[in-house]
């Protein structure tokens, strides 16, 4: 049952492989970025940005392409931490911390628990015609459309502005007070629903008998 899951005996191999792949991908990019930085072609901030972008896109590709579910979930962690780094580069440190707390601490744990509890080891093999060519076409279309739009549009040359934390809190709990309450109710209802759904469902007769 757990043959394909990364139990401790397999952990060192997985970590070695992951580190090797990450090093092979990141090493040349890091060297190229440092060379460009030395040649004063790009600034230090851009070096960090391109590193974070590489981590995000590499992790995302791993999350959608790896067929082992646990590897895909671990790859998702890299993406989400890279997204937190991007939030920091956008000068919103509060959201970066929330991202790490909620995703690194909550969502990833939930996903990995879901993987273990459903005993899913590999992505199911499609038997009646794969959707992958169609999916690739749609993905390429979306990427091309959005990238073209972002590059062609006239954005002006404003830089990122630091939003002071007290102002953010005032805006969040002042102007957006009602939506915050609604989101609180949403979370409450969602997790109650999840509990009710995931509760070990006895057969109806046994449930009646227990009462």
């Amino acid at each position: 049952m757990f043959a394909r899951l990364p139990l401790p005996s397999q952990f060192d191999r997985i970590i070695m492989t992951g580190a090797l792949v990450a090093g092979l991908v990141m090493g040349p990019i890091l060297i190229a970025l440092i060379a460009l930085y030395m040649a004063a072609r790009i600034s230090g901030a851009e070096v960090i940005f391109y590193l974070a972008a590489t981590v995000i896109l590499g992790g995302a590709l791993g999350a959608v392409l790896l067929s082992n579910l646990v590897h895909a979930a671990l790859s998702l962690i890299a993406t989400l931490m890279g997204v937190a780094a991007i939030y920091l580069m956008l000068l919103s440190e509060f959201l970066a911390l929330v991202q790490i707390l909620v995703y690194g601490g909550g969502v990833i744990i939930l996903v990995i628990f879901g993987l273990m509890l459903t005993n899913a080891q590999d992505d199911p093999v499609v038997t009646d015609g794969s959707q992958k060519p169609f999916a690739f076409g749609v993905g390429a279309l979306i990427a091309g459309l959005f990238v073209t739009a972002a590059i062609l549009a006239e954005w002006g040359d404003a830089g990122a502005t630091l939003i002071p934390f007290p102002l953010f809190g005032k805006r969040l709990f002042g102007d957006f007070g009602l939506p915050i309450i609604i989101v609180a109710f949403l979370l409450d209802i969602a997790f109650t629903g999840a509990l009710v759904n995931a509760r070990r469902a006895e057969s109806a007769g046994a449930e009646e008998g227990a009462r």
Binding site: A45, E46, A53, A60, A63, V64, L69, A72, A73, T79, L80, V83, I86, M89, L90, L91, S92, L95, V102, Y103, G106, V107, V111, G114, L117, T118, D123, P124, V126, Q131, K132, A135, F136, V138, G139, A140, I142, F146, V147, A150, I151, W155, D157, A158, G159, A160, T161, I163, L167, R171, L172, F176, V183, L186, L187, A190, A194, N197, A198, A201
Partner: protein, 102 residues
Amino acid sequence: MIPIQSFLVLSALLFAIGFYGVLARRSAILILISVELMLAAVAINFIAFATYRDPKAFSGLVFALFVIAVAAAEVGLALGIVLRLFRERRTANVDEANSLKW
């Protein structure tokens, strides 16, 4: 200084990769992971527009926070449903959950 286009292009690529995952994957949990990627891309866009184009009102920051909260709720609820599905059918493959398919 990094131009805003860099962030928008990054988020567009991330969104496209997530979209590919949603369409191509068969395991319900991997589809959930792909949806997470798409939501992260949307949040990057929100924050980029808030800090670059709208520093006075910065509604994008608040919406990014809402996106994170709704994503957490979605993951919790969807995993509950996937667990239930697995218990009823012994599978987490979305192709086999087709009772509502006409």
